[in-house]
Amino acid sequence: MIEVENLTKRYGNVTAVDAITFSAKHGQVTGFLGPNGAGKTTTMRVLTGYMPPTSGKAQIAGYDVFDQSMEVRKRVGYLPENVPLYRDMTARGYLMYIGEIRGVKNRGARADEVLERVGLIDRAYSRIRTLSKGMRQRVGLAQALIHDPAVLILDEPTIGLDPIQVLELRDLVRELGKEHTLLFSTHILSEAEQVCDNVVIINRGKIVANGSPSELRTTLAQGGRVLVRVDADTDAALTLVRELPGVDHAVVEMDGIAVTPKSADFDPRPSIARAVIEKGWNLIELRPLAVNLEEIFLELTRRQETAVDEVAAEEEEMEVAP
């Protein structure tokens, strides 16, 4: 439903989105995951036809987002990040206005239907300025749904909501994902893990990983790195682990010791467990690293940053060399 190919967006010298390629299928929730400023909003703005790409191609339902913008816009519902609304209008009045511009038939009935859907029917005639942040988010969502679009694009829909509202909205997103092609962005990793069928991780304008949460977990856990926590002096434990056969290096990380084996196929856990027990220490935890998205994410972004730093260092060297 959404096909993005080598999409690039530059603002002057700043490359916000750098040749990204991904796709989103119908009836699935695709999560766009990345830290703030990664290029999520920019990508969404290009997809919704708000701004043109610098280069590359993006298609929604077979229509090019730039050349056939109006066709794309008819099929997309969009909730911008800061949920801009007319504060002087009533929730229903606002939906009627958007519906009229969109040419929705039976606007009144449809407005009531979407208000019902987002659970706001009892506040239909309240002015938007009197609604809470969570309710406004729902009005924004209702606006995106008014024309029953094939594709829904939601930019950080859970930002600024209280924990209960966040849970409710996630349920709604999951439910909507069954009927629509749903692309939503977040910088909260657990959210992506819970809600998405497919996760696209983006950092500094580049896609660093793409797959289902479980796929990402298995592929990335295979770095072979393990985390060990023991009930003993950290330095002593570090020395012990480092001297084990097959261990390349070990460093203190988080609240334990991260062990990297010489080869990714080698599982150092049995030998670590045995060595710790033989010392008479208590083994508290021993697990592969990068098992949840949070660690995968940190790992991926760290990799990318080291890569960038290396390139920068090389460039510096080259400048000095002649």
């Binding site: 708000y50 701004m51 008819k74 911008p80 206005y97 040419g103």
Partner: protein
């Protein structure tokens, strides 16, 4: 068409729900009423009943009214971020801007129609020239549309309503005073009358005060105002487009 009408309807209704429209309406009609009263007292049977007085005065006041009507229209949408939602709807910039423009022009039209009451008063005290009245009202209507379109450009350029209003008023005043610039140019040594005429023809007064304002409908004056409306709306569309693409 549907989108233009939706935007037009909302904006026009908004004028009547905001204090500013009533404030403008009150101030203009009050001011006009006072001056009309003075004018009638002065005329006192000495010169013929003339219905072109009210539309002429209203066009002069437009340098203040037009920016107040347009300052909010685009500046607020861009400041509040609502432009982002609107510009991802199946509606082009031009439809959106034409809708906004027609709302402001519509409000002005209502104001102008209210001043027809002075023509009615005139018919009570005398026999005003209906043809002159028609020409002056048509002229004032086009004149209003043109200056509203010009003021709207500034609302697209800046997000600050006060700045938009101020610069809008300044731009209209410059167009209005082109007449004086032309007189100054004509008074300089080594200038041709063509240069002075050119500057004069660019201004608003050359196409209103002595012609349509007196009821003389000239094709070139009608063309001037229509061109100004279309040109200004085109510029506004381009500005909104560029701002969006850069944002």
């Amino acid at each position: 068409m549907r989108a233009i009408f939706a935007v037009f309807k909302r904006e026009l209704a908004l004028y009547f729900r905001s204090p500013i429209a009533y404030a403008i309406g009150f101030a203009v009609l009050f001011f006009l009423g006072m001056l009309f009263n003075g004018y009638i007292a002065q005329a006192n049977g000495q010169f013929p009943a003339d219905s072109t007085y009210a539309p002429n005065l209203l066009t002069f006041l437009m340098f203040l009214i037009a920016p107040l009507l347009t300052m909010r229209l685009l500046a607020e949408e861009s400041r509040e971020g609502t432009l982002e939602t609107l510009m991802t709807l199946p509606m082009s910039e031009s439809q959106f801007i034409v809708g906004k423009f027609l709302a402001a022009w519509g409000y002005y039209t209502i104001l102008l129609l209210i001043t027809i009451v002075y023509h009615i008063l005139m018919t009570i005290v005398g026999i005003p020239d209906l043809g002159a009245a028609f020409g002056a009202y048509l002229g004032a209507w086009l004149y209003g549309g043109a200056v509203i379109a010009v003021a709207l450009i500034w609302s697209a350029i800046t997000e600050d309503q006060i700045v938009a209003a101020f610069l809008g008023a300044a731009t209209i005043l410059v167009l209005y005073l082109a007449e004086i610039a032309a007189i100054w140019i004509a008074g300089q040594p080594n200038t041709t009358s063509a240069a002075a005429d050119f500057v004069r023809e660019l201004g608003l007064q050359a196409h209103f005060s002595a012609t349509m304002g007196q009821g003389i409908i000239r094709a070139e004056d009608v063309a001037y105002f229509i061109l100004l409306i279309v040109g200004a709306l085109f510029i506004t569309t381009r500005i909104v487009e560029t701002r969006r693409w850069r944002a």
